[in-house]
Amino acid sequence: MEGILKELEDIVGRRYVSASPEEKYIYSRDQGLQEPHDPDAVVLPGSTEEVQAVIRLANRERVPVVPMGGGLVLSGLTIPQKGGIVLDMKRMNRIIEVNETSRYAVVEGGVSQGVLKAYLERRHPGLKHSLPDAPPVATIAGNVAIHGSGHLSQSEGGFHSEMVTGLEAVLPTGEAVRLGSCSTVPGWFSRAPLPDLAGLFLGWNGTTGIITKIGIKLFPKPKMEDILVYMTGSVDILPDLIYRITGTEMAEDMVAAISPKPDWLRGFPILLITVTANSEEEMAMKVGIIRESVRHYYQTMESGFMPVPPYMKSQFLGAPLKDLSKFADVMKGGGFEYVGSIMPVEKLPGACSAGLDIAEKHRVTCSMGARVIGRGHCMMFFNAYAFNRADEDNMARSALALEETNRATLELGGIPWKAEAPGQQDILRKMEPGTIQLMNRIRSLLDPNGIMNPGNWEAR
């Protein structure tokens, strides 16, 4: 490894390579509960060409390469399990193009959610992109690569990976490829009608290549937004509430929250419904239609809409929400990790009850909830465990709870999202052998030396 440091420095510049213990320490771990593992070097590339050169070098030397965006996945996907080079992509932070009429943006692989949001607010105030519930330094490409979802996933077409209009990626052998319309004509407007190769880089946890540029859909940004909070006494009616409200097509975002804290919320699951509009009249109409869709529920007085005073609305509106990061301090200890499960909406009550059992068994604090994806086509159900970084016992119990939640999710008929390496093995054990074989064939074809983020999706 010593020998190639100099070569890495020649590629990206001396300032942007480190093999110091300090960088090794920070890049050996994330905020979650997975075991740390040191990289041999951390490299900050500034261009596609530099990424290519690093990959070629890594192939020559058979050194693992782990691409990293914001480094906020929490489940250890950017921890270099077998050492090698961590490629921190955030120097590639240029916003290349915004097509206002066709509503898409083309950005480099290290552009963050916050920076794109700010850019659109200044230069294209009528447009927005779907923001995940991550801090603003999470990257667009990193989030897409793990099938992230966000505040427009309910109303605007599902997972963020479904909003991708084109990709430039560096293959594990060093070639740069373009996928989607940008491979054939100048625009980055669509993946159709070509063979859809973008899927080779979506959901693979960085094992098939490195996204260096990405086209992403933008959406109209209405002038006003409001929040409705529907409170229930039981999780059992949530799937039907979601079904009815998504059926109106009037809500922008919908998130269910089942939280033990604060105390007044314990036992009262709520549904947060964001509504946007361009006028008072439109807002009143949309809110009216949503209320009407669940009238027969609230008329029983066993559930209903909670009045939200203006000073409370700001806690729920806007993205990304800073308050979500505060969850890390619930145990006064700077940590949380969650199992996000992609599952059908009707599984919500079962997932809640399993979650409560697991939290009780391991004596951990668990907040649960779900973001509705699409018109209720599925949801991202989350069991979030806050832990105290200074309390090893608490961390160990949280880790056990996470593992058990992964397994419970699969039992329930859901699939853990961005699962930790052991969670990936749980998934692979349930996967059809034919699917596994196909994944293996694709990987060995793309990455003959097995350098890309080894330890992930390692199907045996």
């Binding site: 300090e22 320490y25 920070i26 308050d323 301090d329 700077g334």
Partner: protein, 386 residues
């Protein structure tokens, strides 16, 4: 270590890297180095790792700790209410720990030694503190209403001296009664404190307090926001009762005393961290600029609480850890100022002035924009520009 109990509560979520409006990276050290280890969260995690014995003290570690510009963007942006207020205090506490070990980065050690030996970080004779007054009639403090505290950069740096002259002239024009300490002035200790040398700071503060007391000083005008911060927040905490204003406060109050003046210019104002985020004053300088006919104020995308530090805070002006490369904060800041189409980049701190003047040269932008302190702008508008 002080604040040790807070270290594990940082989640390293990264809100601290950006300003509140997310425009771009706003942490000077992270902006320059781009490794997670140089972000506020990375720094906190590494301090904890060091205290736990997981990483050793090294030159790189010291570089990480001493490259923080103490600009407080992280304090503004942090998502965790229970730790956010202390983020910079934690870094200063870690520096203090390193000071105790006696092994400091060369430039930090040299800075502190010179202050210790000569009372100023330039290692120059104290007599030179009066050089900036050449050709001006600036009296020593006797019983005037205010003591004008010049500070090290105003007294010794060529650019700072020009600013000191501008401030003195503008205050005179506004009819403010003031005197200076001259050769008896020493470092205010603000950046010594920021570098974690709390004993030296205490020594400086005691000497200065005595100097103020001996002269019967009641009210001080600080040229530098750094001095202003030290007197306002640290000296007061040490029992010193000082009524201190930044020169911009006086100019804002007395601008109407300066008759007339027009300056046809598009001006963008760079908030100094030690006036803005440290002391929540975003209005005095803008009110001075807004009071001059012809000035069109154009804000940079990062302004007020979102302002980008020039990179000179926390001792970095002297230790130069953030350098002057294209990724340095001052270069970024000048490019941002150019984006506003302004003719003048207005500053209110001698450190910002020098940092940004150099960056304008490095960006080869001398023909597009000039850096002016707001006292200089007042003089220029009043036709009293030398």
């Amino acid at each position: 270590m002080e604040y040790q109990e807070l270290l594990h509560r940082c989640f390293r979520c990264g809100w601290c890297k950006l300003p509140l409006n997310f425009v771009d990276i706003n942490c000077p050290a992270y902006m320059t180095y781009r490794f997670e280890s140089f972000s506020p969260g990375g720094r906190l995690w590494l301090i904890r790792a060091w205290l736990q014995g997981d990483v050793e003290m090294s030159d790189r570690f010291r570089e990480i700790i001493f490259s923080c510009a103490t600009c407080k963007n992280c304090v503004e942006a942090c998502a965790l209410p229970k730790i956010k207020d202390n983020l910079v205090d934690i870094v200063i506490a870690a520096r203090n720990e390193i000071v105790q070990t006696g092994k400091l980065p060369g430039p930090v050690r040299d800075y502190l030694m010179r202050v210790y030996d000569t009372g100023n970080p330039y290692g120059k004779p104290q007599a030179d503190r009066l050089r900036w007054t050449d050709g001006l009639d600036v009296p020593l403090y006797r019983d005037q209403e205010f003591l004008l505290f010049i500070g090290d950069v105003g007294a010794f740096d060529e650019s700072g001296m020009e600013m000191a002259r501008n401030v003195a002239k503008a205050l005179q024009l506004a009819g403010v009664s003031f005197g200076i300490m001259g050769e008896e002035e020493i470092s205010d200790g603000n950046d010594v404190y920021a570098l974690g040398e709390k004993d030296l700071f205490k020594h400086l503060a005691e000497r200065l307090m005595k100097g103020f007391g001996d002269r019967g000083v009641k009210k001080i005008i600080a040229l530098s926001p750094h001095s202003y911060n030290a007197f306002k927040n640290y000296y007061a905490a040490a029992g010193g009762k000082i009524d201190v204003l930044h020169f911009s406060h006086l100019l804002a109050l007395k601008l109407s005393n300066i008759n007339g003046g027009t300056l046809q210019a598009r001006v963008t104002f760079h908030d100094p961290c030690y006036l803005g985020r440290w002391n929540n004053d975003y209005n005095a300088c803008r009110s001075v600029l807004g009071g001059i006919r012809g000035i069109e104020l154009a804000e940079m995308e990062r302004n007020r609480a979102n302002s980008l530090c020039c990179g000179g805070g926390g001792g970095n002006f002297f230790t130069a850890m953030l350098g002057s490369g294209p990724d340095s904060p001052s270069r970024h800041r000048v490019r941002e100022a150019l984006d506003t189409g302004a003719d003048i980049l207005a500053v209110a701190c001698p450190i910002c002035r020098k940092m940004l003047e150099d960056a304008v040269k490095d960006e080869s932008a001398e023909d597009s924009i000039r850096v002016r302190d707001i006292a200089g702008i007042v003089l220029e508008a009043a036709g009293a520009w030398h």
